[in-house]
Symmetry: C2
Subunit: 306 residues, 2 copies
């Protein structure tokens, strides 16, 4: 996790910008240009998504260390949308950002090797090793157990990549399974402990392994509990902003050095212009930057008081 | 689930052919043609995958009711591979087959709506409703609870689609979480009961709901237990053949009418020519058909003895 942690330290900002670009979030002037060029098609939609993302990346890349494109919002625009995901990842990396593909993938051994190659590694084609998507990290669903994680660990070690395994998700019904008790531990705690185990051989300079966990800001008590119990597990924290979590909630994800977590904001940043006085959609990138600065300061204020 | 069940009855065959086309499984003569046309690129690989799948579909479509492409094996060839997934689904449907996209997707509400639109529904682009992938069913990971399932139920009802939620997977480490006890029930049992609940309003003519479950043939006792406890939940059964399960194991997935489940074979069918005397890769499609007939007879023999 060193690569991510060092970008966070450099920018003094533990924020990841979630890129979940529903077409409805994309400003009309971008859509108009793309649809006039490609028609009302997935090609047009994909071009609009990429243009939107590109301008956001340009506005954010010197202050925000990481982006997290959510695969679902690209898949819904067909393979053309998935092509826009590829270009988004590629562009963000070219601007020095750390990229987390939020795919929540999880499957058995041989199939997980394919996902690992797809999202973090390379695929061999007639001797050539080609990068399919080439993110720095992937979110993973560990319901299938170690078989699902092992293929990823090899690539994490070899290529300096990371994964984030779902432990306690930010949504209202996450407790239906995750909060249930297995003996005296909850399911999310069991999953968290498995993350510590899976990561044990990949602990880096800053004390965190390549196996992180997803823990929602909407459950601050559970964040606090897991931060104590999982000292080598870096947290990806969704739920800040639109989902209701604030900096006071997210602060429990951090260690005493103010590290150990990165907090996601998606709609809060992408749609910032709709919440700021005097802004129009023409100012969406500038508004996103202002919101990212506000969020950075919001997080810094609670961290410096810890 | 009626559409699938009626195709199974019509073909008298509860088999789904898994399309997990590693490039290594694709015959050399297909690859040579595609790589000479497109170079050693993802375009070439994707063309080879689609040509392989197309010939398999032609050889199987009159005897096998369904195909299950595994998304990972397409994603590993980039957006070009994902385009081949789209064409595979489209071609299989044009030949009357029921298509299950094996993506094991799972996310929170708004994002799950995007996955539901992507894989089962339609996406609106400037008023036009376009199909991104358009499968008949999607495999789903329910770790996030009802928030993850609800967006799918609407599309299942409206468009006569189905989902299969992971309950007890076929892999060796599936028990690490799934077999753990929550009170007096296992995690997979809790997940199975949630499937019954989620499906309650979508029970069709044959007594099964739109919410099926994935239960591996490699755990026959658990198959038997779940078949009894989940009378309205149709099972997708992986693990037959290459993973070690046989018809004697898979039979516990079926109800007293010989319905209630569909058994998957991937490598067993795709790579059948490597196991049959006198076959070369030139005969891969013919060998796949012979293996599908053998598997059908294998399953029928245990079902007629129940």
């Amino acid at each position: 996790m060193d690569k991510l942690i060092e970008k966070i330290i450099e920018k003094q900002n533990p924020t990841v910008a979630g890129f979940d670009p529903k077409l409805a979030y994309v400003p009309e002037f971008i859509k108009a240009e793309c649809f006039s060029k490609y028609g009302n098609t997935f090609e047009g939609a994909a071009a609009a998504l990429f243009e939107f993302n590109k301008r956001l990346i340009d506005a954010l890349c010197d202050i925000v260390p990481a982006v997290k494109p959510q695969a679902a919002y690209y898949e819904m625009y067909g393979w053309q949308g998935v092509k826009a995901l590829y270009h988004t990842i590629d562009y963000a990396k070219s601007k020095g950002m750390y990229v987390i593909t939020d795919g929540k993938r999880g499957d058995i051994g041989a199939t997980m090797e394919a996902y690992a190659a797809a999202h973090l590694g390379t695929t061999e084609v007639e001797g050539a090793k080609l990068e399919a998507f080439g993110a720095d990290a992937l979110t993973v669903n560990g319901y299938l157990g170690t078989d699902c994680i092992r293929p990823l660990l090899g690539i994490c070690k070899e290529k300096n990549k990371d994964i984030f395994v779902l432990a306690k998700t930010s949504n209202p019904s996450s407790g239906e399974l995750q909060d249930k008790k297995i003996g005296d531990k909850t399911v999310y705690e069991v999953m968290g402990e498995m993350c510590e185990g899976w990561g044990a051989e990949t602990i880096g300079r800053h004390g965190y392994s390549a196996v992180g966990a997803v823990v929602g800001a909407t459950y601050p008590e559970m964040l606090r509990e897991l931060r104590e119990k999982l000292p080598h597990t870096f947290f990806l924290v969704p739920g800040y902003g639109a989902q209701g979590g604030g900096a006071e909630d997210a602060k429990f994800a951090f260690d005493k050095n103010g590290l150990g977590a990165i907090v996601n904001s998606s709609r809060g940043i992408m749609c910032a212009w709709t919440k700021q006085d005097g802004k129009t959609e023409q100012n969406f990138a500038e508004a996103a930057r202002e919101e990212a600065i506000r969020m950075k300061e919001d997080l810094q204020s609670v961290l410096s008081n810890q």
